[in-house]
């Protein structure tokens, strides 16, 4: 079945450092979504990417969708303690059962 692989599983940074998490799908995706889950919280939608090569920015967060629509990345510039949490990508494949497949998540911790 379709898999969405996400790396790294864990990332610890000093406050102010940048952070990137990567997603790779075994199949071409129709779109990809990103969610953030704070410790003890529930996933919260961040963004959806649909077009090949699409880049979207939300303040210090930059999201990219690969040209082949098989990979995506989330980059955070100058992390802040409020960025702590687990970031999940979730991909929708083009063919077959229409459901989001979540990556394993990247847990970000930050040293203040």
């Amino acid at each position: 079945g379709q898999q969405v692989m996400q790396i790294p599983q864990y990332q610890h940074v000093q406050e102010g450092e940048d952070f990137t998490t990567y997603c790779n799908s075994s199949t071409t995706l129709s779109n990809i979504q990103w969610y953030k889950q704070r410790p003890g919280g529930h996933p919260v939608f961040l963004i959806q990417l649909v077009k090949s090569g699409e880049v979207k920015k939300q303040k210090r967060l930059t999201f990219q969708f690969g040209e082949a629509k098989k990979n995506s990345s989330l980059h955070i510039t100058a992390t802040q303690t409020t960025d702590v949490g687990t970031y999940f990508c979730a991909g929708l494949r083009i063919q077959g059962a229409q459901k989001l497949v979540f990556g394993q998540g990247t847990r970000l911790t930050i040293n203040p």
């Binding site: 996933p43 939608f45 929708l92 989001l100 847990r107």
Partner: protein
């Protein structure tokens, strides 16, 4: 504020004792989902309703059932909980199916403990 509500937030049950988790939404969304999330893992889709149409995931155990009596409410029934069913259960909604406007809104979750 429009939202997704889950009750209870914490549920303790005994091994083999049936339990029902509830979810309600004020978003008037067509689709409601149930996910199981274990510690340090991604949410795992159990099933979803598109309106009244029920869609079960192939690997969801028969022990898990769901009901959606109306647009606003959806229930997760665990008929005979085992120790391995201890997890956070997340309800989510989206306006359309995944091919459309499919941003998912998650409830706060119900943490199930099985003794």
């Amino acid at each position: 504020d429009a939202m997704v509500i889950q009750n209870p937030r914490y549920q303790v049950t005994q091994f083999g004792k049936p339990v029902t988790l509830s979810c309600s939404q004020t978003l008037n969304h067509n689709v409601m989902y149930w996910y199981q999330q274990k510690s340090s893992q991604a949410p795992k889709l159990l099933f979803h309703y598109y309106d009244k149409d029920f869609n079960n995931e192939a690997d969801t155990p028969d022990n898990f059932q769901s009901r959606r009596p109306n647009t606003s409410f959806c229930f997760l029934d665990i008929r005979s909980p085992g120790l391995g069913d201890a997890a956070m259960y997340l309800c989510a909604t989206s306006r359309d199916g995944v091919a459309g406007n499919n941003e998912q809104f998650f409830g706060p979750g119900t943490r199930l403990t099985v003794l």
